[in-house]
Symmetry: C3
Amino acid sequence: MFSSTSGIIELLGTIAFAISGTFSAMQRKLDAFGVLIIAFVTSIGGGTIRDLLIGDVPVAWMRDVQVCLVILATSVAGIIFKTYIRKLKVTLFLFDSLGLGLFTVVGLQKGINFGLNPGICIALGTITGCFGGITRDILLNTIPLIFRREIYATVCIFGGLVYFLLLHLEVNVDICKFIVIALIFVTRIIVVQKNLSLPKINY
Amino acid sequence: MFSSTSGIIELLGTIAFAISGTFSAMQRKLDAFGVLIIAFVTSIGGGTIRDLLIGDVPVAWMRDVQVCLVILATSVAGIIFKTYIRKLKVTLFLFDSLGLGLFTVVGLQKGINFGLNPGICIALGTITGCFGGITRDILLNTIPLIFRREIYATVCIFGGLVYFLLLHLEVNVDICKFIVIALIFVTRIIVVQKNLSLPKINY
Amino acid sequence: MFSSTSGIIELLGTIAFAISGTFSAMQRKLDAFGVLIIAFVTSIGGGTIRDLLIGDVPVAWMRDVQVCLVILATSVAGIIFKTYIRKLKVTLFLFDSLGLGLFTVVGLQKGINFGLNPGICIALGTITGCFGGITRDILLNTIPLIFRREIYATVCIFGGLVYFLLLHLEVNVDICKFIVIALIFVTRIIVVQKNLSLPKINY
């Protein structure tokens, strides 16, 4: 799986989300097994839902044990090196944002490869990027950030629109991917730092 | 999708649940994006689970962008016209009951088309009718009504039994559909108004 | 479905989990319909997720109505005979442990039949064994025991490793199954009784 550009993006996304899951679970003081489970769920959650919805089964991680080994290794490394990391919450947030960018692009491209409508591809990208984090938050009993101020998913949708715009302008596909990953990563950090939010509907 | 009788029933069900989702989310004061997400989930949730279980993938809304556009338009219209609706809670409840009837029949018929056992068809109808609302309630952190007094799902099962009875009596299939939709709609309203419930098991 | 050794194991697992679901739901004083729903979800939850992930759809219980009838009969019997059972909590726990052993083996073997990697087979066994109970606990608003002290899933993984070891030693497959079922059943009871737990990661 990890040979092409897509493969490298998926590998990096898997690692980023495994770290974000590991640190979230350690923050909540779960036992070793719980930490591994949360790392797995965060890392494979989005891709699993995506593969189920489009019918690409057995789902990705079942066909490729390497993914599981990468998550296991990342999570164990995270547990070991945790004492060297001062600002756990900031580190967690950065890796989560990076994973969001990487996995959104993976989902977008998979939708395109399956010949789906651009709108559906953007939905698939958003699901791939967001779902692992949502499931993690539900399991850890945190209120899913997606329904709070962060406009998590809006960033993915925005990234998806830019991706199709760039493809339409016939930019090289690998460059498109890189731009959109960076865009989602940076936008999310700015949004959270500036505490931006979508307007509430007054009722 | 929207050309046959089945298509029209599915269209109306999609609209009814999109309205119920939009109003529920506005009641909980979610932001514009959150309202759209809840409208989507309520509208496509039941059909998605049904399609996954029977293996009809990619799931319906991925193959037909019209469904997504209808939900989007309905939700935006709901947001705009909300000020004209006095009794939000009653309106929400009526549309939810209507969607329940419509989608139960969609699920029943899909099970029949897949050649499944009548019992399984009734389960599919119930899942199609109830699951969107359950997911909406979980996401909005309301206690799913299905596990409370409303006997939500019992109404769907009852409707399913009547559907097979009518088909067995060789009533025209479109008339069967209309009767069962009306039956579920009316029964649910009566059940909620009269505050009926199934007997609790004394333990 | 219930003719081979695998079939008998699946039948017994279905019954064991249906009882555990019925008793859990009665403990929380749900109405008759709620009890049936929880019995179903506990009994078919794990297998449904397993079948969705590997793409064996329509999922098992949709293809075989007997499963549904067995659950229905078990649940009704459980409701009727509840007054004869003094120690509901102990009975519930024993049947839950038995179901865990039985369904883990069912999932393991299904993974092997699909030609999947041993690691993935163990994951499938664990999912088949644990998921019904997790969903039951979520629906009943109990904190899923898997994330607490019980090391629920660890027992399944341990059982899976022993299963592959025994198969590797060319032990007869039916004997392997029996040993692993007994092993998971006994290990779980010991673990819970002795109040053992995995080490927490100090952070």
